[in-house]
Symmetry: C2
Subunit: 118 residues, 2 copies
């Protein structure tokens, strides 16, 4: 069920290579890697997971509430992140970033299914 939802997210997101559902402790629950993927989504999400905790703490300290979404665009890839619950986030990795808005929409509309599947 979680696997299928992640597969749907990757298939529906233009330019998406892979997706992972991970705990903020850096432990992956499920991951999906597309056929043409050349990036290690688990390593990427794990490396960022601890930084996400710091960002969430900062947002709370600034009275902005909890973080719901993050987009990190770098020279050679973009990460779309959606906070699924207190302990988990979903993350999609894209090499081609011409359709970021669509990618965020896809992730947002599937986050309830991910939450229920946990």
């Amino acid at each position: 069920m979680l696997q299928e939802t992640l597969e749907t997210i990757v298939a529906a997101t233009p330019g998406a290579q892979a997706a992972v559902l991970m705990g903020f402790d850096g432990i992956a629950v499920v991951q999906v890697t597309g056929a043409d993927a050349d990036a290690d989504i688990e390593a990427i999400a794990m490396e960022f997971s601890f930084r996400f905790i710091e960002l969430r703490k900062a947002a709370e300290a600034l009275d902005l509430g909890d973080i719901t979404d993050l987009t990190i665009k770098a020279e050679r890839g973009t990460l779309l992140v959606r906070v699924i619950s207190e302990e988990f986030f979903a993350c999609v990795f894209l090499r081609d970033t011409s359709h970021l808005g669509k990618g965020r929409y896809v992730l947002r509309t599937h986050s309830a299914a991910l939450r229920e599947g946990l």
Copy 2:
């Protein structure tokens, strides 16, 4: 010149309250606060600036290159961030986030002017 560019960015971004051009050391160069702003953009950007350095280090370590853009969406506000140079970033704060794509576009198209003004 920098002031004018930031003013243009805030005016052209739907839902934008304020913008700041800041060093990654947390020191603001210029900031613009709209008439209806109820958030302290300088405090927000400063609190996040050190975390941005950590995110950039992580992206480099993962061979993703330097980070060019960040979007941090929280329950009560969204931060659009654009890396302007090795040492500086521009940051727009929005309460209403129905037009994020437009905001990112405005920030991107003005980043050369900010870079030249530094």
